[in-house]
Symmetry: C2
């Protein structure tokens, strides 16, 4: 199974073969930048989404602050993007080959010549740099055109008459701002509150690349936190995270090429390294969330983006960056958008987008964590991927709560029929009590363990010919490949404890005996 | 609160005001046929989706048949729709006003003249009928043009170079057929199996109308069941539903204008009223599912569509139709697609789309239930809406498992502070054990009960000044508006039983006493 290739190539290989992700419309040559999640990928993705809903919406909502989820249209009419500025400014710098007519992003072309350009570099400067380094068409070595702006929104027409331009949203956030009045009125909202949304966004990338990292259709999990000015310095839940430690790269540190520092959230706010308490709160929450997904603390940090990388209205952007096989990638954007969006849409729509606070009508400020689900999914794959000496196949060390399946149930052999029957009965019993189980009797037991490892199933349960005599089954642990034989009647509770991480497999081995069960100390 | 208007108008009114659904980009005048789900609508919608996943995927999957969920790109390249026939045939008949230039669906215009035309009526015939009845522009009374075909897919361009047409998928099904090879190989699939998908589909309706019934962006929950020829007459799980009763309208009954008949699923197959066992199985499942959502059995039926309403390759289409304030509407389409889709894509892509079965490579047949989530959502609203004499406000009788929130927790008054504090403590305790609770202390208790009823919260819990002395709280039942006082320590388990429908409120009233608790008989 093992191959000599880069980490990301190995992962893509497993992803294709084991039902995680494949190119959309592959039998027609595909369409660059679009992917389908296969059955295993969808199971994992749904669990990540559920965990986000649980941690960022359900657990966050209480008597102090409410986070509501909405679900808006992906297709939006032109005035929305005139007001938001996307129609004018959501551009990438494009160059076209004068011979083969292919298009490229100028900054990507320059990267191949080891010229790094930041977002927002003027077109003239880019054209100048292309000439300086003598950059040519990456496909045919032809001459490249001057740089020009290319709008990244997908455009279409509403209705049959023409003249009604619509666009696929380039971010989920705009629905929330545009529906602000309905949202606040219908929910009788009081500051601070949050509106969350998960769904697809679309960017017509000139040259999609790097697998799930730069896609044309992708999924975002965003929350807009609406706060009053005083919440910036006194956010209701800030105390809960004040002493949490996050990893931070300041602008100065980034310029000097320094690595991230560990800092207490409260100290970062006091030192003005973070602009306000709600944003600091969110960074602490994300630090916890990524670790729940199996991404090690050392692998990611928050970087204060430079002024050139940041919109003019921003009060501070902090990207969650990860070290990956594709280099440093941004997987979450955190932005203090101030009151920019509501002011823009209020002006353009001639609508009052305000909310009552302490007896006055005010335009609230916005702090936004924007999580890229596909990039997070890829980061989880990379963090959990194992190609080591413990076995001759590759495996994923997913935390049990995001593994595609919790438990696989196997008969040791395909005969006798009674063994198959009683294994199926056990499988159905475990399913009935709500465990996320999978039954398989094809191939030999070794192959089944390998296939379970390859998609990261944490526990396998095997019934054998002895089982009918001693009422025992074998639990096999993915991480250690160790096995423990337990009474069938103890199985469900032991599995539940293992899945909930209330018991480790090492502890099970040490403390369990068939005669005495699990001995509590 | 009550108004004199039609049922659907009343529901739209509540939907707008109480955070269920609002027009997208409303502050810019909206875009016809697109809606945002607000916080309350999203909660209900997510619960319907979860119930679909639970019933159609998780519970269906066992050792006999596996249903896997995939999640494919909404944006797909042109060759997909050339092969599927959508580019050529997915058209609506359009007429344009020669004066005001507005476009209309010819069949909709004719409906206003009480001329009913079935899908698939030739264009010439439609033009003829317009002349016959003297139909004019519904907006300006201008002369209408001849009928022509209008393709309903939204078109856009991939990349900057041009020439790469892409379309927003008009149904989720195509992803599944196109990725068939990857799906079967990666999952080592064996017939029969199902691939499920939930996601947005897009149809550029000439004239969207009827709220959530005819939208341009909508959500489908589809499953493609792949079966071998022998499964058509011997489907593994058929016995489980053989004696289930469904409501059916045959072609003959429809022509005669007859109402649906109740018939056992097995008998319907034997009488050849249904084409095969898997399709019959699905109709039984849907009958159960809709009732779980609170839609009464008498309100819906399956109609065998006429040949004119059915694609040429279909082996039988059975729409789930519902009596609604908008007339009879289709909320689920069930189709026996035979092997048409896989044959089309195999031919167009020059790929073998086959699977091994009993030692031979075969092209499986497909049976497809396609559930329209938005139409189902509307049907649930209509089925559960109450405007009656029990109270002076309107309410929703949602089954507890799809109510937006399970339990609201209130202090009786806003003072003293200790009452607020202990109510918040109770709220947080209920939240900690995983109940879906909501806290509110604004307005008076009567208004809070009314607001809870308006969004269909089944149970309210109120703490009062006595609570600190007698350790009791009051549970108020939405449906009866009755109240029962219970010990705070019994509260969580009683609520859980009420939510799980293991206990009715009437039973609680009869069997519970503060001294003895819940007396089992």
């Amino acid at each position: 199974m093992k191959k000599e290739s880069s980490l990301s190539e190995e992962i893509i290989d497993v992803a294709l073969v084991r039902g995680f992700v494949f190119p959309s419309a592959e039998i027609y040559g595909g369409a660059a930048g679009t992917y389908d999640y296969g059955p295993i990928g969808t199971l994992i993705k749904n669990k990540i989404v559920n965990l986000w809903r649980q941690r960022f919406i359900y657990e966050e909502t209480d008597h102090n602050i409410r986070i509501w989820e909405m679900s808006g249209s992906r297709l939006l009419p032109e005035p929305v993007f005139v007001a938001s500025g996307h129609l004018e400014k959501f551009n990438d710098p494009l160059t076209q080959c004068k011979s083969c007519k292919k298009s490229f992003r100028v900054d990507h072309v320059l990267e191949d010549y080891e010229v790094e350009v930041t977002d927002g570099t003027p077109l003239e400067e880019l054209t100048e740099k292309v000439k300086e380094v003598g950059a040519v068409c990456p496909k045919c070595k032809g001459e490249l055109s001057e740089a020009r702006e290319f709008n990244m929104m997908f455009k279409t027409q509403l209705g049959a008459t023409g003249g009604h331009n619509a666009y696929l949203r380039p971010e989920t956030a705009q629905n929330i701002f545009v529906s602000f009045r309905r949202l606040t009125h219908s929910m009788r909202a009081k500051l601070p509150f949050g509106i969350a949304q998960i769904g697809q966004s679309y960017r017509n990338e000139i040259s999609p690349r790097n697998f799930l990292i730069r896609m044309r259709e992708f999924t975002q999990m965003e929350i807009e936190y609406f706060v009053a000015p005083e919440h910036l310095i006194d956010y209701p839940k800030f105390d809960e995270v004040a002493s949490s430690i996050i990893r931070l790269v300041t602008r100065e540190m980034h310029e000097k090429g320094e690595k991230a520092m560990d800092i207490e959230v409260e100290e970062a706010v006091e030192q003005k390294l973070l602009p306000n308490q709600p944003l600091a709160y969110i960074l602490a929450l994300e630090t916890e969330f990524l670790q729940l997904l199996g991404v090690p603390y050392e692998k990611f940090w928050f970087r204060h983006m430079s002024p050139e990388e940041t919109a003019h209205y921003s009060g501070g952007n902090y990207d969650l960056e990860v070290d990956s096989d594709y280099g440093v990638i941004e997987i979450v954007g955190n932005a203090y958008r101030q009151d920019h969006d509501l002011q823009c849409h209020a002006k353009a729509s001639k609508t009052k987008l305000r909310i009552e606070h302490d007896g006055k009508m005010i335009v609230p400020h916005v702090v936004e964590p924007s999580l890229g689900l596909d990039r997070i999914f890829y980061t989880v794959l990379e963090s959990c991927y194992r190609n080591d000496e413990t076995r001759t196949w590759t495996w994923f060390a997913f935390p049990p709560h995001i593994a595609p399946i919790e438990v696989a149930v196997f008969p040791l052999r395909k005969k006798p029929e009674e063994l198959i029957e009683s294994t199926i009965e056990l499988y159905l019993d475990l399913k009935d009590i709500g465990l996320d189980v999978f039954y398989d009797d094809s191939g030999n037991i070794g192959k089944r363990y390998a296939r379970a490892d390859e998609i990261g199933i944490p526990f396998c349960v095997t019934m054998d010919l002895e089982s009918s005599k001693d009422d025992c089954v074998t639990i096999r642990d993915r991480d250690s490949t160790d096995q423990v034989r337990v009474l069938t009647e103890d199985l469900a509770s032991i599995l539940q404890m293992l899945i909930d991480s209330e018991l480790t497999f090492v502890e099970l081995k040490e403390k369990y005996s068939i005669d005495e069960g699990l001995v509590e100390e």
